[in-house]
Amino acid sequence: MTATTTTTSKALSFDGIGMTFPDGTEALRDVSFSVDRGEFVTIVGPSGCGKSTLLKIASGLLENTEGTVSVDRERIGYVFQDATLLHWRTIQRNVELFAELHGIAKDERRRLAKDAIDMVGLNGFENHYPKSLSGGMKMRASLARTLTLQPPVFLFDEPFGAVDEITREHLNEETQQLFQREGFAGLFITHSIGEAVFMSTRVLVMSARPGQIVAEFDVPFEYPRKPELRFDAAFAALSGKVSAELRGAHS
């Protein structure tokens, strides 16, 4: 079965996705779900269950061996685990990169980069090189770079895993604000249940390899979500349920 790339009513949809690597490792089995614009879906699951593989399939970096992916790959946003900033470019030039690769004229890409830099609060750091920024600031620059193309679909591959807890919470709040403002279809990968519940409209739990969706939770909290939500009883209850499913998925 081959993957297809089409535009459907859903911004991103997986239908019966399976992935077996050439060495025989089965990473994913029969994964089906979709994400529409205005939805923020987070996948939690044990390490090595195929979460990142699924994002790579969605973006076209990997080709699935089973099932069909429907997405407009021309304008997909992908934020990696690492900020993947080019060390030799200033923040301004890094943020301009995608627009540059898409052949957008210099003036226009400068404007897009400026807007994106404003949006993530990096004003004043345009001429800094990545080596002088902290992990959190680098992730902001990475987000800004992706925002320049105003992608309707945003893939996040555990982007805040390497930053400290407080910075992570800040970034969660800021990503949530971006989601509200831009209304993209977001697919987010994380190991943190709190992060998943705080940001998402829906949380999917994936089993150990081969990864399958074993549980799905709608998150009922209104946006914008305040940091205090993390201490709410309903938030704790939902996190507990996701955690219980995740423990089951591990076993």
Binding site: G60, L61, H87, W88, L101, V120, Y129, L133, L178
Partner: protein
């Protein structure tokens, strides 16, 4: 609080690693040590070493060698007087050095062009790398002495052959370092370019080549030094045309002119060090702003 607000109110984290501006950190640490102490710590060790070296030199010249055998190692002040302060001798050394520098720079320039071309070619396909690389290793392993007859047979005994020796000696580090550099861009960065359908040329120009610059400069610094050695070695074997420093070294040694011989050796080393420093400076100018080890060792 919006993103903009958080930036304006300063609620975002410090952008700098460890929460401090690097320029401020430098200023702070500089304040801890006085400027004089820093200068002393930088200058004193090589100065003391130099004094020890010159003392040892005098000790050997006057203590170990008797008058009859002192031509083997003339004392420093005689080398200075005859080799450097006698303008006739010194200008001869300078002219030889200029000729060798010219040969070294021509050889190095050709090595850079060939090296970049082959490394770029090899970086584009593993099969090309597998085809070319063993021959490069072989070329590197051939002792120059073994192919001297062949070089003179093909290119004569003049400047052209000296340039060929330079190329053979300096090519390998450029190829190896450039290839290593071109292959050093992280997987995630390549994924970015793949996601945005970047062409092969765009990927090379905007990702692989800039990522390779630190390694390229490391290779250039090594090869620049080797090209000077190549020019001098080439001079020894191929003496037709301009007199290079290698030919002068041979002349001084044959005539037992120890002062000029040592002066020529010192000037040859100075040339090697100067070329190394110039490439270090260029490296610092080119990549110092974003690369941590720029300006440090190769």
């Amino acid at each position: 609080m919006s993103l903009q607000e958080s930036a304006e109110t300063g609620a975002i984290e410090s952008p700098f690693v460890g929460g401090a501006d690097p320029s401020t950190m430098n200023a702070g640490s500089m304040r801890l040590k006085s400027r004089g102490r820093v200068a002393a710590e930088t200058i004193l060790p090589p100065f003391v070493m130099g004094v020890i070296f010159i003392s040892f030199w005098y000790a050997v010249s006057y203590g170990v060698l008797d008058e009859r055998r002192r031509f083997l190692l003339r004392p420093p002040h005689q080398v200075l007087e005859v080799g450097f302060l006698d303008w006739n001798n010194f200008s001869e050394i300078l002219n030889g050095l200029l000729s060798s520098t010219k040969v070294a720079m021509i050889g190095l320039s050709i090595s850079i062009m060939i090296g970049f071309f082959l490394a770029t070619l090899m970086s584009q396909a593993k099969v090309v790398e597998r085809a070319i690389f063993p021959f490069m290793v072989t070329l590197q392993a051939i002792p120059i002495l073994a192919i001297v007859p062949l070089i003179s047979f093909w290119w004569g005994t003049g400047q052209r052959s000296r340039v060929v020796v330079c190329i053979i000696i300096s090519l390998f580090p450029i190829i190896v370092n450039t290839l290593f550099g071109l292959q050093s861009a992280e997987r995630g960065m390549h994924d970015l370019f793949t996601l945005h359908q970047a062409s092969r040329v765009t990927r090379l120009r905007k990702l692989m080549f800039p990522a390779a610059l630190p390694a390229i400069f490391a290779g250039l610094r090594i090869s620049a030094g080797l090209s000077v050695i190549g020019a001098i070695v080439g001079d020894f074997f191929f003496g037709l045309g301009d007199v290079g420093i290698g030919q002068l070294l041979r002349k001084y040694a044959n005539n037992l002119w120890g002062e000029q011989l040592l002066a020529a050796v010192i000037m040859s080393s100075a040339l090697g060090v100067t070329v190394f420093l110039i490439f270090g400076w260029i490296q610092n100018m080119a990549i110092g702003k974003w690369h941590d080890t720029a300006g440090g060792g190769a």
